[in-house]
């Protein structure tokens, strides 16, 4: 029996029931969310189950939704079943004030650097990560640059004329929000 989005969803609902939410299939890719405490259980099930076999973590990153109180940060896992060539997208949401999520490094080796990157840019604290330090940005950086409250423009240079560097427009857009 070929693995389809329907069979994957069926297996997951059978195992976890109402705990999984936000079912969607944008562009044919199965997407769902789970409470953050359950992320390892869901990943482990997807990994171990003999019919599912999602054993390749393609990508892992975060998204910041500042207007989503209590669930500002989404951590997104992209999983791939290489044998049946089927992918899915799995999200957990966490509050920005307590951004602690269990680390998937024990399950997927590839999670190591990707969790470091996610920590680097969004400040998600991966509990159980062996070496959670910055990976791409300079070590001295004291904030998480891809969180929405920080402007993308470099703030350290004071001798730049904002108008000449196209920053005035960006500021106006921000003030009007």
């Amino acid at each position: 029996m070929a693995l389809t989005n329907e069979t994957v969803k069926q297996a997951l609902v059978e195992k976890f029931g109402e705990a999984l939410t936000g079912w969607d299939e944008p562009y044919g890719m199965l997407t769902f969310a789970a409470p953050k405490e359950m992320n390892l259980k869901v990943l482990q099930f997807l990994f171990d189950d003999e019919s599912l076999k999602f054993r390749f973590l393609t990508d892992l990153q975060a998204v910041h939704f500042p207007n989503n109180p209590g669930a500002e940060l989404a951590v997104v896992y992209h999983l791939h079943n290489l044998q049946d060539n089927i992918r899915l997208r799995f999200k957990v949401f966490t509050s920005v004030n307590n951004p602690e999520v269990f680390s998937a490094t024990a399950l997927y080796q590839s999670a190591n650097w990707m969790e470091r990157e996610t920590y680097d840019f969004f400040g998600v604290q991966f509990v159980g990560h062996p070496n959670l330090i910055r990976i791409l940005n300079v070590d001295e950086m004291d904030y998480f640059p891809l969180r929405k409250e920080y402007p993308v423009e470099e703030q350290s240079r004071v001798d730049k004329d904002d108008e000449m560097f196209g920053r005035v427009h960006a500021k106006n857009v921000k003030n009007n929000e």
Binding site: L136, N137, V138, Y150, V152, E153, E154, S156, R157, K160
Partner: protein, 187 residues
Amino acid sequence: MPRPVQYNSKVKFEGIPEGYMGEGFMATNLEKVISLARKNSIWPLPFATSCCGIEFMATMASHYDIARFGSERVGFSPRQCDLLMVMGTIAKKMGPVLKQVYTQMAEPRWVIAVGACASSGGIFDSYSVLQGIDQVIPVDVYVPGCAPRPEAILDGLMRIQDLVNKEGLRRRHSEQYKELLNSYGIN
């Protein structure tokens, strides 16, 4: 059939410095002689990180030929070179590396920032990019452009030659110069 031979008759010679000359000798200012030698034998160290480096490759090649200015010997060891040519975007993480390369160069040393990114960060007005290399090392000449044409890079090199020519031999020992380096945390 033999091809007609073209000879380059537009050869430019460096002028002889002022001095007192006679049969088989010449007396002049040591500073002038040394400046003349330095100016026409600058060894560049290319620090090319992106597209401006491609323009520099054209500048080095036969058409534009940086060798015409006495700089044919492009060195890849900072310890041998006089002129650090920074070409391309310098990310913040690259900043300390650039500074280390600069400190490994022996005095006298000059720096040329080629292109908008090296000069000011250019279009990369972003948290990850150094907004001009003059935040980590002192710069002598800025070449604007994105990317500057080889002519512009050559013009920058000629400005460096002017600086080298006019620089007094004791400048690197001056308090002002030490202060400048101290302001960058280099000594």
